[in-house]
């Protein structure tokens, strides 16, 4: 005897309608693996790659936003649609509200906010992004901000490249970074 999906859907929707959910998550299959997408009341708060264990990821969100976390594809339909449109190439803007609650410093938050202005098809170097937020010598700190970005893909840290060439590091692994850049037609030669 198991709980039916429809019961789980009804429960999650009732929780959201009553304002009881600190966050809602969904699992979304994509060409780069199944993503875990977590959304709080203010926006997308965490995106996890397939290689990140869901339990640990949700525990991280619970520590930041609260433990009332529910799962619902239905409640996150708009977010799923935006990500699906991105991966299908029909709309790569990913204009989703983002919640930076899990970002640990104002500097990193500034860097990630600025990064949102780098659209699909564009790339920027760590040094250039540092200049844009008026910390021209902080390229390494920008690297850390990207490495700890809780909302990859939506906040496009894959578009930040080392000045020395190559694609550099990526939370999801360099291969996924290359695939995202290739998908956007921005893979450096």
């Amino acid at each position: 005897m198991t709980l039916s999906q429809s019961l789980l859907d009804r429960l999650a929707s009732a929780a959201v309608a009553e304002g009881l959910a600190d966050a809602v998550y969904t699992r979304l299959p994509t060409p780069i693996g199944t993503l875990t997408v977590v959304q709080g009341p203010r926006g997308v708060v965490r995106v996890g790659f397939e290689r990140e264990p869901v339990d640990a990821l949700l525990a991280e969100v619970a520590a930041g936003l609260g433990p009332r976390i529910v799962a619902s594809d239905r409640e996150l339909a708009a977010t799923r649609a935006a990500l699906e449109a991105y991966f299908e190439g029909t709309d790569e803007t990913l204009e989703l509200p983002v919640d930076f609650s899990l970002v640990r410093s104002a500097f990193r938050r500034d860097a990630l906010e600025e990064l949102r202005h780098v659209g699909a098809g564009q790339v920027v170097t760590y040094g250039e992004l540092a200049r844009r937020i008026d910390h021209p010598r902080a390229a390494r700190a920008i690297g850390t901000a990207c490495a700890t970005n809780p909302v990859p893909i939506v906040v496009p840290c894959h578009r930040v490249l080392p000045g020395s060439g190559g694609v550099g590091n990526y939370g999801g692994g360099p291969e996924i970074k290359r695939r995202l850049l290739a998908h956007e037609g921005a893979l450096p030669a």
Binding site: M1, S4, L8, E18, L20, L58, P67, V70
Partner: protein
């Protein structure tokens, strides 16, 4: 102030949802089990941030499910009185009906203790967790309830 770490609520639903459904169906009947579980989990979610510790979360969920099933019984009892007695009374539940009939005259707290002990087959520690009382109090509550049944001439 002590910071407590509660697990993400949905991990509890995934870990215990199925057994709570079994529990709810035993207490409220197969036809009402899903409604009871849904309402119980919603109640649990409302109370979740106010928990003062993260121990015994499974027993806590059982307790809420038990209470919700009892409320459900009461609601249905009222409906039987006011709406459509023959249809509701003729509803083909299962063998638990006999048990429910047996304990119907006891106070709610005694009924809950008996269901946990004999329907859910919990030991006294389990009954105690589910009711939020000490194991000794659980043992006492069950034995008092059994004495009451004996006095009614329904238990050996």
């Amino acid at each position: 102030m002590r910071t407590i770490v509660l697990p993400p609520f949905w991990s509890l639903v995934e870990a215990h949802g199925d057994e709570l459904l079994v529990h709810a169906r035993r207490l409220a009947g197969d036809a009402h089990g899903e409604d009871v579980v849904q309402e119980a989990l919603l109640r649990a979610l409302r109370a979740y941030p106010r928990l003062r510790h993260a121990d015994h979360l499974r027993a806590w969920l059982y307790r809420i499910t038990t209470t919700t099933a009892m409320d459900h019984h009461r609601r249905r009892a009222r409906e039987v009185l006011t709406d459509d007695p023959p249809a509701a009374a003729a509803e083909p539940d299962h063998y638990d009906d006999a048990f429910e009939e047996l304990i119907a005259g006891l106070p709610d707290t005694a009924q809950a203790a008996l269901r946990l002990r004999f329907v859910d087959d919990l030991d006294y520690a389990g009954v105690a967790h589910a009711l939020g009382i000490s194991p000794e109090a659980a043992r006492q509550r069950v034995s008092t309830a059994i004495r009451a049944l004996r006095a009614q001439g329904v238990a050996a």
